[in-house]
């Protein structure tokens, strides 16, 4: 519909996928390149890869306590997303994926392709709940457990 018009209009999507944590960097890069070729083959434009690095998952994903998170930002049509997800589903190294549409009617010429970003995964202090931090927090709070009981006694 929109592609029939003079200026090609694409949609903007992002896909986050989780890879097995024990994979070497080469395999991670290979997977990224595979995604890039699929996007280019289907008439899309890959804008940016962001590797979040190896992170602790909040619950075991396919029996893995950690995963390598990769975020891909790209332009394309709906067929591209289904094709990309089909490929991710068939890859054994991919634990999980999630695609989200960000915008409609994007002119691909206005969106520049930027460098891939690589973040170090484990040094994120933004972990909100659960997991090791929760346990550590609870261990710290354990000191105050007796105090809590005392407070209850005072109130009564």
């Amino acid at each position: 519909m929109t592609q029939a018009s003079a200026a090609i209009r694409l949609r903007e999507y992002e896909t986050v996928f989780l890879l097995k944590p024990e994979l070497p960097d080469e395999v991670v890069d290979q997977t990224k390149e595979r995604v890039r070729t699929i996007v280019n083959r289907e008439g899309g434009k890959l804008l940016r890869f962001t590797t979040w690095g190896k992170k602790r998952t909040m619950y075991p994903v396919k029996a893995q306590p950690r995963a390598v998170y990769i975020h891909a930002l790209y332009l394309g049509g709906p067929a591209l997303v289904s094709e990309l997800e089909r490929n991710l589903r068939n890859l054994d190294n991919v634990l999980r994926y999630l695609s989200v549409r960000l915008a409609d009617d994007v002119d691909p010429d206005t969106r520049p392709v930027s460098e891939d970003i690589k973040l170090s995964g484990d040094i994120d202090d933004n972990r909100p709940l659960g997991g090791a931090e929760r346990d550590a927090e609870r261990a710290e709070m354990g000191v105050f457990d007796g105090d809590d009981d005392d407070d209850m006694g005072d109130d009564l």
Partner: protein
């Protein structure tokens, strides 16, 4: 009879005090939607540090009557939390001992 009338009067007193309390409660500050007050903020499922303010310790989504979000942003936040859960960025539930 006396007892019952006393009871009624007590009840009347009680409701009056409760009304007072209710009246006092209405003076509490109305919470503002943080996404409305700051137009640059965007709800993002990848931003787990922002989403943690809208999730209880157990991992449940906090209702907007408590968090103070507007309806529009509460819908976006709820969706973002569900997406973050699917990617294991936020837990579905936290089991407390």
């Amino acid at each position: 009879m006396m007892n019952s009338s006393e009871k009624y009067s007590r009840n009347a007193d009680r409701t009056a005090t409760e009304d007072d309390k209710r009246g006092a409660k209405t003076f509490t500050r109305k919470k503002a939607c943080r996404y409305c007050s700051d137009k640059n903020l965007q709800v993002d499922f990848k931003d787990q540090s922002a989403l943690k303010y809208f999730v209880t310790e157990r991992g449940k989504i906090i209702p907007r009557r408590i968090s103070g979000n507007c309806a529009k942003h509460q819908r976006q936040i709820a969706k973002a939390i569900k997406r973050a859960r699917a990617l294991a960025l936020i837990p579905y539930l936290v089991i407390q001992g």
